[in-house]
Symmetry: C2
Subunit: 288 residues, 2 copies
């Protein structure tokens, strides 16, 4: 199935880029957008990311065969409850959220046909925020993690998977629980860590920070509201990741002594090798 009418709920960087990519890659598909701010909707229309824009949810999702939630994670629950009475029984619903357990649970609870809902996490983005940064190639070549629940229809799952592939993405399936655990380690903790690293810097060190520092803390430039929502929504896993990292730092402290010099060098070499393994694993997910 190729969608004929896509409804994008929340038109920022991610939603706008879906619009641009769908316009570029899907023929005969109408893109509708929903948002509160008229200026944002107008910008999206002017960029060609949307064909139609509405400030009421019912108008935006009428006749939609694919509804994509692109707001911050913290708004998903109230959106789903507003959407529930509005969506047709044939429409698919997906999202672009960075956490998956909560939205899967909310869909299960609030939608009358939760089998229509397929949770997605397209791993693309930027520390920049706003529809003006949208790009038709934002998703190209990146990984989209789908986290089906037990009630998700396999037809719906396949259709949403095909949609992300049409936008140029690779796809992969894991459970919502595994997603949130693994993403805490590879995404949410790194974000928190970049923020902690910036927060501890003394102004006198600012001019001495080099490319390594700036690369490492780039993700700390993201929006606080958006990332606060993600960290809070996945707090149990993020807490566990922070505790694990602190254990590694304690190990490192124990290696910072003369008689541990060889152990320290070997540990650093093993880490460099592991990092290479992670680079090699890019795009080689054994998921579908």
């Amino acid at each position: 199935m190729t969608p004929k009418r896509i409804s994008i709920i929340g038109v920022g960087l991610l939603g706008g880029s879906i619009g641009l990519a769908a316009k570029a890659r899907l023929t005969g598909c109408k893109i509708t957008g929903y948002g509160h701010r008229r200026s944002t909707l107008d910008a999206a229309l002017n960029m060609g990311a949307l064909d139609e824009a509405y400030d009421t949810l019912s108008a935006a999702v009428a006749d939609a065969d694919l509804i994509i939630l692109c707001t911050p994670v913290g708004l998903f629950r109230s959106l789903l409850s507003e959407l529930a009475p509005l969506v047709s029984r044939t429409a698919l619903i997906t999202d672009v959220g960075s956490t998956k357990r909560s939205i899967v649970a909310a869909a299960d609870e609030l939608l009358s046909s939760p089998e229509q809902f397929v949770a997605s996490h397209p791993m693309a983005g930027s520390e920049k925020r706003g529809v003006q940064y949208s790009r038709a190639d934002l998703y190209d070549g990146a990984l989209c993690i789908l986290t089906p629940a037990s009630r998700t229809s396999s037809l719906a799952l396949k259709a949403v998977e095909d949609f992300w592939k049409l936008l140029g993405m690779q796809t992969c399936r894991v459970s919502p629980e595994a997603h949130d655990r693994l993403l805490a380690d590879v995404s949410h903790l790194p974000h928190a860590l970049a923020a902690a690293l910036v927060s501890m810097q003394d102004p006198s060190a600012f001019p001495l920070a080099g490319k390594g520092f700036h690369d490492m803390t780039r993700i700390a430039g993201g929006d606080g509201g958006l990332w606060g929502d993600i960290l809070l929504d996945n707090r149990d896993n993020v807490r566990q990741s922070i505790v694990h990292l602190k254990e590694r730092l304690d190990h490192l402290l124990s290696l910072l002594q003369d008689e541990q010099a060889d152990a320290l060098r070997n540990w650093l070499d093993a880490v460099a090798e592991k990092r290479q393994g992670m680079l090699d694993a890019r795009g080689k997910s054994d998921c579908q």
Copy 2:
């Protein structure tokens, strides 16, 4: 003063790139190299990074007016003691090490004319290692931190500063003590942190790591021996930086609860703003 004969002690990425940059930017300057491995010296000669290569220190530094120590930090002390009887009283000596207290103390103790020694930390490099990655523009536009000691001659300091400027660098002066404290926070801790972050990852998370993760851990791909030396040499400061970071992580843990949601978002926004301040401070050092 423009040097007429530069002797590069240790011809890897940093030493080779000094050779290439000096050949490109200084006229009538002969570049001599010293190293243990014939294959490395031959590669440097073939690339045009050196004019002459020697495997004895005395031959490599004979007639040199500028001697640059480019070996790993851990070898500096023994090198200085070997160099002491070989250098003429008019030659300048500098280095490219990432820590500064230990080499300044060693020069003071071991050289008969410690006023000839000017400690430098050109902040350029790569996670790649080896003369084959040398580039004539490696230092271009980057910052070189000079850490003069009380006995450093101001003429020598000015001459070494001018040399780095000839290679395209900005320069800046701080004390060896301030250097090691500040660099622990903006360079050595980030390196240790990137390593700790990689080390804690579960293989099942490898394919899910995105661009943010790989940017953040790029510096963990560096050589273990080299970085082990740096972390050990600056261990008191690195320990302190790790302790400070752990305090920030504990603060973050305290913010990961519903009633702290606004405080968490505000903290993340303040960090994003601070990071922008750090980016704006690049190249705006108030040092000379």
